[in-house]
Symmetry: C2
Subunit: 383 residues, 2 copies
């Protein structure tokens, strides 16, 4: 007990020191405020702005006006939050109601020195110390309670950098109820969100994009059984799910990469991207919404989007992809670049059986039933 | 200047505090020494040991006896090192000769508070504070110099936890010369190593396993042109390569996952795994050695391995894969598990065109020449 008190005293002392140190860090960041492209060792943005110079992203600076709301800052969410913070995101809103435990040390991000702190407080402290220019709202709150859910809806609607709608919601939770709450809220508000999950043996993972009315929502593919189970109930029985910093980190990387594509409008969005760690197997496809989805709000969005199809995000993405393909075929060879750095062939080394055009496969409602996606959804409940 | 001095004073003061805090952390780790399976909030190993309970890994504890040597602790190597540290690796040897700069903040791991420190010192400090049970040797050294190269060979031969041969070498460097040095050293010592690289636009990456005499070495597929160019020369010209914490983190995740498979003997090793971020495209194949490789030591290893093929690693992996497939077909359904946690189907949701058995493709020397791998190798020189 005494040793715990002494540890606490040392941690408090260090917190004060950190606050002072961060003032100096803030000064250093100010020097390149506004995302300078200048190639200097003390410019934290030069390597990101190089994406613009190389033509990958048209307007990288836009990220400073973007806001992302992350539910769950455990093994996946915390790493996602760190990646976005380091990429220069304008604002981050995080929800969680867990505390940091030593049992979390087998994933990235949290340190033993943060044990006992709420995850959101620990995360906010670390993220601000990495990039003092990001705005962070941290809520130690369960979004599946009535008040928590109302709070979430309010922040989605008004949590943006200037009080506007948030740009993206990302789910990094470990249970079915929280996923359903996010799904309901986002359907209601017509809010795009990303879902993610890692299996209990840490050997597979997936990310999925949910565009209300355009792609399947979380309720569209009805799970086989509704079992309420999460990490806490599992732990109570003396067993726990496995986890690895590798699978968690890769999943966070996929999520953050997709978030950058979505926010900064480049590349092809991944709709469902699944990863199998044992065999290094990946799948990439899209699921259409279920016209008989049990969620009223999902069906309502489907009807709205069907009326004005030209405004659909998927439609615009398809057109852009088509235009890019045509332009590429017209030129028929990569253009020379001015900065003299060669870039590895965009498509990577590829075999004949894996043509790029086949990457994203549309799966109809009917096919879903024959597909093992139902199983996946059912298993998600046990996450 | 005065403000820099004051910052240094604060950082020194914090270092002293950290050392004291880490003593307490060490105590907490001691409680579960030897990798306890106990499901408790303060057991840092329970989630890793669950991999054993779930049958993914036969003997997870073995990782405490394992040692990995990482060359380059930048955007990929530092995250790899953190993942292995959190997984409970016994010993880590790291090489680098760069300092932490604010321009590195767009990748995971280093913090603005570490600016000015050598990367290896900063990394060692962070890793030890995360897991005080790991042994770390850190060398602020360039392995492409004569003395650096000799030092590297010595550490490969005697750097293990008890003075034995290291288990694995991983290259996370950003230039051609360092890759060639590692290749030469590992061919000479018959040492298995992993190669990795991220393209200059941060949109593609690869990892590759090198088993001397069994798979292609780095020199087997002769690059088209030998241009000596690295990050430092690029920066001098006022341009820099792009980098993202996402692509770097995903690459580190693939490397660490493969390292775990290799060290703990589970799953299928990835031989060449390439990732294209824009289209979420992945490839997975194997390259056979070139019988006319310009490296004497590579050809020598090829001759040795041809003599006693039964002892080859690839041979053993193929046999294990075959046995696993036969056993699976015999049972024909997944067995019930005792702990009541369901696991997502190992193969994940998959489309017909992507059969698991086609995952790893063998590519002969002849095919390499027609393949764009030469290009990849050539581009590597500019990394």
């Amino acid at each position: 007990m005494d040793s715990d008190k002494e540890l606490q005293r040392l941690l408090d002392e260090r917190q004060k020191l950190n606050d002072k140190i961060n003032e100096y860090v803030k000064e250093k960041y100010q020097k390149y405020k506004g995302m300078s492209e200048e190639v200097k060792d003390d410019n934290p943005y030069s390597r990101l702005m190089a994406l613009k110079r190389m033509g990958v992203v048209q307007n990288y600076e836009k990220i400073r006006d973007c806001s992302v709301l992350v539910v769950g800052v455990g093994g996946v969410g915390s790493v996602l939050a760190e990646m976005l913070t380091r990429c220069g995101l304008g604002k981050l809103i995080i929800y969680d109601y867990d505390k940091v435990e030593l049992a979390n040390m087998n994933r990235l991000f949290y340190t033993p020195q943060q044990v006992g702190l709420s995850k959101v407080d620990a995360a906010k402290g670390t993220l601000q110390s990495i990039n003092p220019e990001i705005t962070i709202e941290a809520y130690n709150m369960n979004i599946t309670t009535n008040s928590g859910f109302e709070h979430l809806l309010d922040r989605i609607k008004k949590g943006g950098k200037n009080g506007e709608r948030i740009n993206l919601v990302v789910s990094c939770v470990d249970n079915y109820a929280a996923r359903m709450a996010i799904n309901t809220g986002c359907n209601e508000l017509d809010q795009i969100w990303f879902e993610s999950g890692v299996s209990e043996d840490a050997m597979s993972a997936h990310i999925q994009i949910m565009i209300p009315g355009e792609t399947a929502c979380f309720a569209c593919a009805t799970p086989l059984a509704v079992v309420e189970s999460n990490e806490h109930t599992i732990k109570r029985e003396g067993v726990c799910a496995a986890s690895l910093p590798t699978t968690m980190g890769i999943t966070a990387g996929f999520l953050a990469q997709n978030a950058l594509k979505f926010l900064l409008d480049f590349g092809d969005l991944a709709f469902v991207l699944a990863y199998n760690a044992k065999a290094d197997f990946f799948t990439n496809y899209m699921i259409k919404p279920n016209s008989e989805c049990k969620e009223n709000e999902c069906r309502k969005r489907q009807a709205e989007k069907a009326v004005n199809k030209q405004e659909n995000i998927l439609e615009r993405l398809e057109q852009r992809k088509k235009a890019a393909k045509e332009a590429f075929e017209k030129e028929n060879k990569p253009s020379e670049n001015e900065w003299g750095i060669e870039i590895v062939d965009e498509s990577g080394p590829q075999s004949d059986s894996n043509k790029k055009d086949d990457d994203v496969k549309e799966i109809s409602e009917q096919e879903i039933e024959q597909n093992n996606l139902d199983d996946l959804m059912a298993k998600l409940q046990n996450m």
